[in-house]
């Protein structure tokens, strides 16, 4: 490694350099929020609503409990506005009037130990008058039970592309076949391994420092300014044990609670969620109900028109749901060119815990429907599923439903490369290599399924231009510091940024570090979400590094400075005055109209093809994974090891979404299986052998050509698995998750004639 990256011929970028956070995490030196205990710290706990809906009547402290060292805070203790500022101001910090979902925070307690705090919270009874809740998203719109606005619709989007429904009518008149299908997906939990946790510490100036597990420090700044009524606060990210979107917006709630208690007690407050609490109270992936009608040319298989209806369940509060819906509608047709389409999408409110950001952000839901629908078309009209995809895939110059013209489209290449890789012989069945010698004698059927994704990288529409994210680079003696609010949540940001800067400056990466993600120091580079960090912020960081070189050259008074390298410039600096430069996101002139949803929806798109081989145990309904091949366009693999890690981890999370991750709600809407033993995510041992091909169609706007890759791997493993089950057994599954029970049911349904081609309309 020594010397690597110090010459242009030997850069870090493009190689599997070592993660900056690895040693501290492996040795246990890394400090997560629960590892830190400020002097005088009290512990917080949350009192939550026991009902889905009710009128809050007050709180009752158990008179038999010893309250001497316990402090209780309610909505009345919120110093500023009782609101978690996000899209709309509908969600309170603490409920004060109507209870809108089970586990909604109602009060807070602080006590000298965690056990005391938890015990105290249990002895605060929430008094309420029960009201009738609304759970069914299909009945939510315009229901007389009101949750949001006057129609229970958080947001509604409509897109018309080409001639819209007229295009459908024309196609039908010209002999196209209409194929209609409905698809549904359930909740999914992010299941970061470190639960939510935050410390709020009073500062000497009367302000607060917030320290904890998070993706987006500036979201918390924005939310807490309103909660506190002033801006004397700074937010510092602790080492964070995973997020997957679950630590995008929810940490603002935890931070607000810790802050309220810290102000009331004047002491540092540590508030760490229990696992069972975290699973019941925090956001999940939105359930969705999706209906697709397409007009397909019976001779060529070309999709001529589409009519899509999406219904997403947002839960009790709006959170980021409108943005999720926006990504959903923009991805709803999958990576296929359709000349005429009408798309309708609604995000409705129900009395369930709010749903929110999760890797993919609306795309995995619609991509499941889009891909399953294509398989339905193939089945109904007698096309080969792969050939049908090949016919309809986007190609260079095609236009998306928002009117964006596509270039450098990697769709066919990812398809061909995945198919070629899938030709290799399958590794031995995991059944045979299972511990204990292998399950004997199942009636197992083998099958293969394929699905293709496209994923818009970065924010939707004019999001980046509106944000105009910033990053600083500074000199610290012999070292270089990068200052951003872009957090490392396990995906490798703290390793990627230094490598980018090291290559620009031509220095050893050991000399480049990320400054602590403390909003007192770092500018707002935007949230760590939307597959934007390496691609968008990475580019700003790259520019900041160039600006640093420029600044050094500008202050150098000696001849030849304009060609001198970084170290020479550093050595010959006229003074050792601090030097810090800032770069800002530069808009490439994208055009986007948020009113009409026309224009460049995303700066660029990633492309991915997944091929899954399964064995379906037709006695038990279990799906056994044999292999997952993916070919994914990453623009440029900044670090191929980290890139493959993202793609494989994302794919495994997608397999969990496919077959095992079922969230079961009780009759109050509370997650019943809120434990690691019964919310079943795949472990490393459950991962099938994976073959991961990095395809590189560079994006001129990303650093070294990189595109965002954080989310795309989660998009289509699930429909590929469904297709593989169908290939193996003929059973058709159009709902997630495909648990053994569901597979057995579908195997039985296969015997009934409902799925004959004639009935596909």
């Amino acid at each position: 490694m020594a010397g690597a990256g110090t010459t242009p011929d030997d850069p870090y970028i493009g190689r599997g350099f070592v993660r900056a956070d690895g040693p501290a995490k492996v040795t246990g030196a890394a400090l997560y929020v629960d590892d830190v205990r400020p002097r005088g710290c009290l512990y917080g706990a949350t009192v939550r609503s026991p009902v889905a809906r009710g009128r809050l009547k007050g709180l009752r402290r158990d008179p038999d409990f010893d309250w001497t060292d316990v402090v209780i805070a309610t909505a009345a203790d919120v110093p500023g506005e009782n609101v978690i500022a996000l899209m709309t101001d509908d969600q309170p910090v603490l409920a004060h009037d109507e209870l809108r979902h089970v586990t909604e925070p109602v009060a807070l307690v602080a006590a000298p130990t965690r056990d005391r705090a938890l015990a105290a919270a249990r002895h605060v009874e929430v008094l309420y008058e029960a009201l009738e809740p609304l759970f069914d998203p299909l009945k939510a719109a315009d229901n007389p039970i009101r949750i949001f606005g006057d129609d229970n619709i958080f947001s509604r989007l409509e897109m018309v592309h080409g001639d819209g429904l007229d295009g459908m009518a024309q196609a039908e008149a010209a002999g196209a076949r209409l194929v209609r299908g409905s698809y549904a997906v359930g909740l999914q939990e992010q299941l970061y391994i470190e639960p939510q946790g935050m410390i709020a510490q009073p500062r000497e100036d009367g302000g607060l420092t917030i320290f904890g597990s998070m993706q987006c420090p500036y979201y918390i700044v924005k939310a807490l300014k309103r909660v506190l009524g002033h801006d004397r606060l700074n937010v510092v990210q602790a080492v964070t044990g995973g997020g997957f979107g679950g630590k995008e917006e929810y940490p603002s709630m935890v931070a607000a609670h810790a802050a309220v208690l810290a102000l009331k007690t004047g002491r540092p407050i540590k508030l760490i969620y229990r696992r069972d609490e975290d699973l019941q109270a925090t956001t999940k992936r939105h359930p969705a109900f999706m209906t697709y009608t397409t007009a397909v040319d019976p001779a060529s298989g070309r999709i001529l028109a589409a009519d899509v209806d999406l219904l997403f369940d947002g839960g009790a509060y709006n959170t980021l749901s409108p943005v999720v819906l926006s990504r959903a509608i923009l991805h709803a047709l999958g990576p296929y060119a359709v000349p005429h389409a009408r798309l309708n999408a609604r995000m409705v409110a129900t009395h369930t815990p709010p749903n929110g950001a999760f890797r993919g952000f609306g795309a995995p839901q619609v991509m499941f429907a889009a891909e399953r629908h294509l398989d339905r078309v193939a089945r109904a009209m007698g096309f080969d599923p792969v050939a049908l995809r090949r016919t309809n895939l986007y190609r260079d110059g095609d236009v998306t439903p928002s009117g964006q013209r596509l270039f450098d489209v990697a769709s066919l290449e990812v398809l061909d490369r995945a198919l070629a890789a899938a030709e290799a012989p399958l590794p031995p069945s995991m059944v045979a290599t299972r511990p204990g010698g292998g399950q004997a004698a199942g009636r197992r059927k083998a099958g293969r399924g394929l699905a293709i994704a496209w994923h818009g990288c970065g924010f939707t529409g004019n999001g980046e231009a509106a944000l105009a994210g910033e990053a600083d680079v500074s000199i610290d003696g012999h070292h270089v510091l990068i200052h951003t609010a872009s957090t490392d949540i396990g995906q490798g940001t703290d390793s990627i940024f230094p490598a980018i800067v090291a290559d620009v400056l031509g220095v050893d990466v050991q000399r480049v570090h990320n400054a602590p993600h403390d909003t007192a120091d770092v500018p707002d580079s935007g949230p760590t979400v939307a597959s934007r960090t390496a691609m968008v912020v990475g580019r700003v960081v790259e520019q900041a590094a160039h600006s640093l070189l420029d600044a050094l050259r500008a202050e150098a008074q000696w001849p030849g400075a304009e060609d001198a390298d970084f170290d020479t410039l550093l050595e010959r600096r006229p003074s050792d005055a601090p030097l810090r430069v800032r770069a800002r996101y530069e808009d490439a002139g994208a055009e986007w109209d948020p009113e009409t949803y026309r224009g460049d929806a995303y700066p660029t798109y990633g492309w991915s093809c997944v091929v899954v081989d399964v064995e379906v145990d037709t006695d038990t309904g279990e799906v056994l994974y044999r292999r997952l091949v993916q070919a994914t366009d990453v623009g440029k693999a900044l670090n191929p090891v980290l890139a493959a890690g993202q793609l494989e981890g994302g794919a495994l999370q997608g397999l969990g979404y496919a077959t095992s991750e079922a969230v079961v709600l009780d009759d109050r809407g509370a997650m019943r299986n809120n434990r690691l033993t019964n919310y079943i995510i795949p472990t490393a041992l459950d991962a099938p052998p994976m073959e991961t091909i990095l395809v590189e169609y560079p994006f001129a706007g990303g650093p070294f050509g990189a595109k965002g890759i954080g989310e795309i791997p989660h998009d289509v493993p699930a429909p590929a698995v469904a297709a593989a089950i169908e290939d193996a057994t003929g059973a058709v599954l159009d709902r997630l998750p495909m648990t053994p029970e569901a597979v057995l049911d579908a195997l039985e349904a296969r015997e009934t004639p409902a799925e004959t081609p004639g009935a596909a309309r």
Binding site: G436, A440, A441, A684
Partner: protein
């Protein structure tokens, strides 16, 4: 994250006698720990609050695997991993090796022991929960309460025996050797377990399980073990089934099937057929098992599905015992 209470001390005796003396001295304030993979979790969940943990791992002589005589002897401290990988066990008691290999995950198999597995506490969705959770729902018969959330009406705890070695050892005719201040006693495994989820063994508080004894199987003995679980990587059984029979000249006799992860005690299927090996015989056994075994909502997994899986596991066990691979 759940923390372990730091209210106990750990004693590490070097002999069984010393361990017994510690149990005697501390009475019901003491608990035994071997690999700790069960009891530490239960302490975290507030199911026990011992003041002394008597750790058995420093005791010599309890890791023996003796397959020489007419009765095999397996020490209580043999690690689950070693049991699964032992060539002699794999050859002579293949169903036991297989069951061991299907327990938990790799780390847990290295820590967990045979004795700990046999003495594993029963499991239930209403008991293997944090104290906070159980407090919120209301306690149950097994700990601190008076009701059963599974049966609603019953007065008896129905938490499920969930150990993988128990049903196999049962079909192998195993017995356990128990040491106490009163001396050593040996009990057939069948008599060791009782049908009470609160405590499903007759192990006295001052007793230590030292060895498992398994009669050498006759050359005609066939055996198999099948397990249903969500993830092959780690999960407890949602259902398990051990089977053994003699096959001599194509005739099946002494057919024995024990099913577990259903009730507090493993359940032996009754009135099983004998006679020439045939599809009809297997069908009959499968039908009997289906009829006699009724899973409850005490553990994870859809009850109807688990019940339908009883005959499936039985057929698979037959195929496994006969060395057949499934025809696709």
């Amino acid at each position: 994250m759940l923390r372990i209470a730091d209210t106990f001390v750990v004693e590490r005796p070097r002999t069984v006698a010393a361990a017994l003396a510690l149990l005697d001295a501390h009475g019901d304030k003491a608990r035994l720990v071997a690999g700790g993979t069960d009891i530490l979790v239960n302490i975290k969940h507030g199911l026990h609050a011992p003041e002394v943990l008597v750790d058995l791992k420093a005791i010599d002589g309890l890791r023996v695997v003796d397959l020489e005589g007419d009765v095999f002897e397996l020490g209580a401290l043999v690690a689950i991993h070693d049991l699964a990988r032992h060539p002699g066990v794999q050859a002579a008691l293949p169903s036991l090796a297989r069951a061991a290999g299907l327990i938990a995950g790799p780390q847990l198999r290295r820590m967990g022991t045979l004795g700990g597995n046999i003495c594993l506490d029963t499991r239930c969705v209403y008991i293997n929960q944090t104290h906070f959770w159980r407090d919120a729902l209301g306690y149950c018969i097994k700990k601190d309460g008076t009701v059963c959330h599974v049966t609603k009406v019953g007065k008896k705890c129905v938490a499920a025996a969930s150990n993988d070695t128990a049903p196999v050892l049962w079909t192998l005719g195993a017995s356990v050797r128990l040491a106490s201040p009163r001396g050593v006693r040996e009990l057939a495994l069948e008599d060791f377990y009782v049908n009470d989820g609160e405590k499903n063994t007759v192990l006295a508080p001052d007793e230590i399980l030292t060895h498992v004894r398994v009669p050498r199987p006759a050359p005609t003995r066939r055996m198999a073990y099948q397990k249903l679980r969500v993830r092959d990587s780690i999960d407890y059984p949602m259902l398990n089934l051990a089977l053994a029979f003699d096959l001599d000249g194509g005739v099946v006799s002494n057919l024995d099937v024990v099913v577990s992860a259903v009730a507090a005690r493993p359940r032996r299927v009754k009135r099983l057929p004998e006679g020439p090996l045939s599809a009809a015989l297997i069908d009959e056994a499968a039908a009997l098992a289906h009829k006699q075994v009724r899973p409850l909502t005490n553990i994870n997994g859809d009850v109807a599905w688990r019940r339908e899986m009883v005959p499936v596991l039985l057929r698979r066990a037959f195929a496994e015992a006969l060395g057949e691979e499934a025809a696709a």
